[in-house]
Symmetry: D2
Subunit: 335 residues, 4 copies
C-alpha cells in the first residue's frame, strides 16, 4: 500500500497514520524523495482505505499487490520522465540515445567521442572510469581524474555524462561530475550501494543482473526509490543462458514487460546484450520498436584499438547509420 | 567440403571422386535434392581443391569449416527462397506472415480463420491437428480427418497450410494435405523424423529446440538437407531460461545470427516466444526489424474459447493492427 | 483421481463408473497394464469418493492432485521393483549397476565388456546400437544386426541388455533382443514413441530431457504408464545450464525429489551428467548416497579408442574401483 | 607466471625482476600475503624461466596458463589448510561442519545454537547479522550489536564465528568479532569488497555467484589472494537454472572440479543448494562423498519460527542425525 502524503505534512500526522496501520499489523516505511512524501505499508490484512483516507495531509492511497511498490505502474500510471536539464529528457515519449567508449581512455578519445556525438545530435555520453573486471590483473579504468577531465570537456560541449559507480565510497567522489550514475550488472543486488544511491539527488540507471530476473531488477529500483531517489532508469543488457553463439541473450521480452510493470523509463543495451559488433544494430532496432525509451551503445573511432571489449563496439560510420535508423523506427512505431 | 556436381553426372564419376577423397581419409556423403547434386566430404587434412576441380561433372567446390555444410552461408551466399506456388514465396526479400489458431477446431473455426486471412491478404494458415502435450490426458488434436477438411477449405480459398508433423508414420498421411511440414520444438532432435523429411518434396519449417542452441538448429536442418530436401525454413520460438515472467525467452539475437550463418529463411514465432497476449506484438515487431523473413503467430476469433493456449492468442482486431505494423516495419527497415 | 479396479472387472461396470464421473464433468481414461486396471479421472470438482467407492469391482480410490497420477507416490507409497528375471531386480532396496560402452562396436568389444561385468558381478550391460547424433555425417551405430549379436552373447553369459530406442519402428525390431528399452534425452518428449512403449511388455528407462524439468520427466513416464506399461525407471543425466566447465550440470537435487514424488526407481547417469572421466566417480558416489536406486555408466577397455565419447568413459581398473566404492556407500548409507 | 620470492627479499631485487619482465612485455603485480611474497607476471610471450631463475631471492617459478594464478593447483599442489586456532582446521583432510540459524535472532537463539553445536562437537557457528534482502522492506539483521553479543557468547564457549560481510565499511566493524568473513552469492563479483578483504588477516569464505561460473569463483578468490590474503575457502551453494522444483540447482559437479583446479578448501552449502528441508540431508551427504572439505548448513531449534527462510532449516534432531551420517561418510569415502 502506498499512501501519498502532502509534502508539507507534519510528523505528528505521519506518526498517527503509522500507529493506525500498526494496529492492523502493517509494517510502515516513510519515504521522502525529491518530489514526493510516501508511507509504504506492507501487511497481509485486507484494508479499507476509507478508514484513514479522510485524514488531513493524505493525498491519495493505492493498494499495490506487487512486492515492489513505488516503482510499480499500478499506482503511477503516467510514465516517469527523467529531466537532466538543458532540455535533455528521457522517457514519456523522449527517445534517448547514449553512446561512447567502453572505457574512457584520455583527452583525445573523449574529444573524438564528443565531436561524434555533437555531429549526431546525441546529448549523453557513456564511458567507464571504474571498470569491473573478473581478473584482478586487468586495466581497471582511469579513475576519478579521468572523470574530472571528461566532465570539464563535456560541460564545455553541452554533453551529459553517464558512468558506472562501483562502490559507496565512489558516490561522493563522482557526484559532481556525472549526470547519471550507472549501477552495473554485477552490482544490481549490492544493496548497500543501492541504499546510498537513494540519498543522492542524481538519476540512477540500474542494469539488470547478469542472471537477474525482471522482478529482481524492479526490487533493486525499489531500494533506491524507497531510499529517497525516484529519478531512476531500468536497463536490459542481456542475461546469461546456455547459448554461446552470443555473449549474452538479450531478453527482448523484458522491454514490453518492464514497460507494463513499471512507470520508469527502460533503456536497451544491445552492445552487451549480443556482444557481436555486426549484430548490435539489429538488436538496437528491435529494442526500439519493442518500446524502449532509449538505447545505450558502445562506439569508438577505432574499435580495434579500444582499451576494452572492442568486439562489440561500433565505429563511427556504423554508429551514424544506426542512429538514423533508430530515430526513424522510433518515429514510425510510436504512431 | 561441398562438391557441387552437374545434375546429370554419371555414377562412375561420383565414384571416382569419392575414391579420390577416400585416399585423403575424407568420408563422403552423396546428396541429391530437388535442385542439386552434392558430394559432402568431411575430413581433417588440408585439401587442394585443384586436385579434383578440373574433372568433368564438377560445377564448384567450397571449403566449409562449420560442422554443418549445406545449410551454411559460407558456400551459398544468396538467400534461399521457398516457393509454395501461386506466387506465394518466403525469403530473399519476400516477407511472409503465417497465422491461425493453436489447434484446428472444426469447420467454423477454419472458415473464420480463412476469412480473416483473406481480409488481411495472408496466404499461409497455421494450425495443429496433432498436438504434443506434456500430459497424456489432454486433447491431442483432430488428427488426419481434421487436416483433410482444412485442406479442402483452404484450397477452395487459395490458402496454403503449415502444420506440425510429430512422427514418421504421419508424414505419408499428411503429405498431400500440407504445404509446409512443421517440426516442433520437442522434435528438433528427433533424427529419424528429420531423416524421413529429407525424402519428402515439401518444404519443412524446423523450430529451434526448447533449449536448443543455434548450432543444433542448423545441424537439424543439415539432416533434412543431406537427406535430399533443401526447401527448409528455420524458426526461432524462444528458449528455456530461469526467467519466469514470460513463458519462454525469445532469443532476438538468434535472428541476425541465423541470417549470417545460413542462407535459409528465418521465421519468428512471437506467440510461443513470449507467451503473453499483450506482448506478442512488440516481439513480432522486434523480430521484423531484426531481419526475420516472416512471422508466424496465433490468432482466433475468440481467444478465451480457443481449444488451447488462448493466453498467447490475438483476437482479430489485435491481429489486424499488428499485421499492418509488421508490413510497414518490414518496408522501412528493408531500406 | 485414480480408481483401482479389480482385474476381472466387467466392461459394464467400467462404463457405469465412467458415466457417474461424466456427470461430475470428469474426463476418464481407462488404463490396463501388466498388473493393474485403473480408471484415471481428471476434473476440477471436489468429489466425494464414497459416492462410488461402494460399487463392486472397485478396489481403491486415491485423490492425486498432481497432474501426473499413476507415477505419483501419492497413491502408491511402496517403491516399484523392476524384475528382469533370473533374480535381477532394480528398486525397492535392490541397488543396481549398469555399465558398458557408449556404442556397441563388435564382437570383441562385446565380449570384453561381458567379461568385465561378470568379473564384477554386474548383471546389466548398456550400449547403443542406434545413436542420436547432432551431425548427419557421424557414425550412427551398428543397428539391429549389432543388437542381435550382442543379445546372443549376453544370453550365453547371463547378462541383461539395456539399449536406446529412437523411433517407433525400432520397437518391434528390438523387442526380443533387449531387457530394458532406453528413451534418450532427446526423445523424452517424443510422445508417439512414449505411447507405443506403453503397449510393450518390457521395462522402459526414461532419461530426463536435455533441459527437461523434473515434472516433465514424470509426465513422460505417465504417458508410458497410462499406455499400459508400468515397468518404468527414471534417469537423471544432467541438465543444460550456462556452466561450461562440465558437459552438463548433474542435478543431484533431482534424486531425492524424484524419490519423494514417485514410486518408480531412479537411476543416475554420471557419465553424461558431468562428462569428465576423472570426475565420473565422485558424481556416481554422490548419487548413490543421495538415494539413487542404481547407476548407469560408460566403461571401455581402451577409452581412447572408443567409437564415441571416450572422454567420459572409464577404463576397467577405474570402473572396478568405482563399483566397489558404490556398493560400499550404498550399504552404509542405506542404514 | 608466479615467481615465489624469499620473504626477506629487497625491493631492489623485486624491481630488477620486474624490469626484466617488462622487456618481455609482461605486466607484473607484486603480492605480499601473510605467508608469501610473489610476483605475478601476465603476458603472452614464451618465457624461459632460466633467464631469471638464478637470481638471488627467487625461490621458485611456476608457469600457470589459467587466468587465475595464485589460487590454481597448477603451482601449489598441496591442499591449503585454514587454521582458525584452538585446533580448529579446515581442508587438507580436516573435514569441517559449520551450522547455525539463517539470521542471528538474539541471546536465547545464540545460546540454543551454541549448546547444540557443543553437544555435537561442531566448532564453527554460522549466522547472519547483515542480511541481503531483495525487498527493501524486509528485516535486515541485528547488525553489529548482535555480532558483539554473539562473539562474547561464542568465545565463552569455544565456538568460532562465520558471518557475511556485505560492504567495505562493515569490514573494520566486524573484524574483531568474526573468525571467517563470508562473501555472499550476490557479492561474489563486488570487486571493491574483494580488494579490501585482501588486506585483512582473517580467512574469507567466498560463495559462488547466483549464476556464477566455476571460473568466476576462482577469479574472485584470485582478487582476495592477490590483495594479500591467502586464507580462502570456496563455497558451492547452488546455481540458478530453469528448474523450479528446487530453490537452486546444487552443482555437485563443481565439487570435484574445484578440488582439481584449486588448492583451496571447498565447502558445500546444501541449505541454499536445494532449499527444501527434507532434502538438505541427501545433498549434504552427496557433497561429502564427492570430496567437499566441509558442509555449512542451517539449523534452528524451531525452524517454523526462524526469522527467515525456515523452509530449508533443519531442527536439532534432524541435524544431529545428519552430522553423524556426514562424519561417517567422510571417513569411509576418504579411504
Amino acid at each position: 500500500m502506498i499512501i501519498q502524503l502532502e509534502n508539507n505534512v507534519t510528523s505528528d500526522l505521519i506518526q498517527s497514520v503509522e500507529e493506525e496501520l500498526k494496529t492492523l499489523k502493517y509494517k510502515t516505511t516513510h519515504v521522502k524523495t525529491q518530489y514526493g512524501n510516501y508511507l509504504i505499508g506492507t501487511g497481509k490484512k485486507q484494508f479499507d482505505i476509507r478508514s484513514i483516507g479522510h485524514l488531513n495531509g493524505i493525498k491519495d492511497i493505492h493498494v499495490v499487490s506487487d512486492d515492489y511498490k513505488l516503482v510499480s505502474r499500478k499506482w503511477k500510471v503516467s510514465p516517469t520522465i527523467i529531466d537532466l536539464g538543458d532540455d535533455v529528457k528521457i522517457g514519456g515519449g523522449h527517445f534517448s540515445l547514449m553512446a561512447g567508449p567502453c572505457s574512457i581512455e584520455g583527452e583525445e578519445n573523449i574529444m573524438d567521442t564528443i565531436n561524434f556525438l555533437k555531429a549526431n545530435n546525441i546529448k549523453i555520453m557513456r564511458g567507464g572510469v571504474y571498470k569491473p573486471r573478473s581478473s584482478p590483473y586487468s586495466f581497471r579504468g582511469l579513475g576519478i581524474d579521468g572523470l574530472k577531465l571528461w566532465h570539464k570537456l563535456a560541460r564545455e560541449n553541452g554533453i551529459k555524462i553517464i558512468s558506472e559507480v562501483m562502490q559507496v565510497s565512489q558516490i561522493e567522489q563522482m557526484h559532481d561530475y556525472v549526470d547519471i550514475f550507472q549501477v552495473g550488472a554485477r552490482n544490481t543486488q549490492n544493496y548497500n550501494l543501492l541504499d546510498e544511491l537513494g540519498r543522492v539527488d542524481k538519476p540512477v540507471l540500474i542494469k539488470r543482473g547478469i542472471s537477474g530476473t525482471i522482478d529482481e531488477l524492479l526490487y533493486s529500483a525499489e531500494y533506491v526509490f524507497s531510499g529517497g531517489n525516484e529519478r531512476l532508469l531500468l536497463c536490459e543488457r542481456g542475461i546469461r543462458t546456455y547459448e554461446k553463439a552470443s555473449r549474452n541473450t538479450f531478453d527482448i521480452n523484458a522491454i514490453p514487460i518492464l514497460k507494463e510493470k513499471s512507470h520508469l523509463p527502460v533503456i536497451a543495451d544491445p552492445s552487451h546484450g549480443i556482444g557481436i559488433r555486426d549484430h548490435v544494430g539489429p538488436v538496437a532496432m528491435a529494442s526500439t520498436v519493442a518500446g524502449a525509451d532509449g538505447v545505450i551503445f558502445e562506439t569508438h573511432c577505432r574499435p580495434e584499438e579500444a582499451f576494452s571489449d572492442g568486439q562489440q563496439t561500433l565505429d563511427y560510420p556504423e554508429a551514424t547509420k544506426l542512429i538514423d535508423k533508430l530515430r526513424m523506427l522510433n518515429e514510425v512505431s510510436a504512431n
